[in-house]
Amino acid sequence: MDEFEQQVRQYQDRIYGFACYFLKDDTAAKDVTQDVFIKYWENYDDIDQDRAMGWLLRVTRNACIDVLRKRKTRRKSVTVDSENLDRAESPQPSPHAETEASDFDDHLNRALDEVDEPYRSVVVLREIQNMKYKEIAETLDMPMNTVKVYIHRGRKKLRKQLAEVLDHETA
């Protein structure tokens, strides 16, 4: 049990973080995280421990997709638990710049909700969770080139969705 506990503490933030950004629902993210680790425990002896992170992320992603499918309507607005997702601030922001940055991040967060799979997963894993291309490729069982292509396409979709916001800022 000690080794399992150690791994829960080691991996839970990443799993929970991924579920949060995928589902945009803190409660659902907690449920998914709990269920994933219970499933991990039940299959513990069968899982290659060197690939545990990949297994956990795959199962989390599948669970998140199942949750989204069961939702009857897509979310149109972000409901983020601000207790856990305080926005990072630039080192010396001016008041105007700080408001602008947080507005843009809100728009970006909402736009991410509109990005379909598989692009959303790879963008979250790479750009938010800072995983390496190779790690993402092994986790999602994709060629590395495909991971790169999907990341670029996912961010392109964000750029298209945020075009008006970005144009308005520079105007």
Binding site: P118, T139, L140, D141, M142, P143, T146, K148, R153
Partner: protein, 191 residues
Amino acid sequence: MRILAHFVGPVLLAVAVGLLSPVAAQDTTQNVRAQPGYVDFGSVESWFDADATVEINLKGSLLNLVASASEHSDPEFSQLVRSLSAIQVRGFPTQGVSSQVLEDRARRLTSMLEDQGWERALYVQEAGETSHIYVRRTGEDIAGLTLLSTNPDSESVFVNIVGSIRPEQIHKLGRELEIERLENVETSRQQ
């Protein structure tokens, strides 16, 4: 002696369990890419500016589950799927793409395949539609089949089937199947 005899059954079962270990299955997933019949479609995707209209990635344990799920309803289909290691499909729209670009893409793929030791089994062109079929042999057996079909008014479809293949089996089964149209932009689930 009676105690030892009692162990024979469990030992044989343990050997079977060990051979079917999920760890071995995970290793199989990684080994699919190393199989001669496998084609890395990652580079193919980067040639297209548009999103795929069809995407299928089936490997390893998921294919085994497909075979198991069909065992009773369609044993011949199940048997064929069991002999396979991977199925990959990519479809990209071709409307608005010039014929020159389509030819270039086809040429790049066929060059890539031929460089990797694939043999062209068939090339057909009719009214602008083209079909290439390539096979990868290991000895006398076919270890992989790659098909590229392009309809300039519709889409280019790339298919890679990895495993111990008998093409006549696929053709026969394909004729007998009644399949609903795939939804657009099928996203694959990874294992």
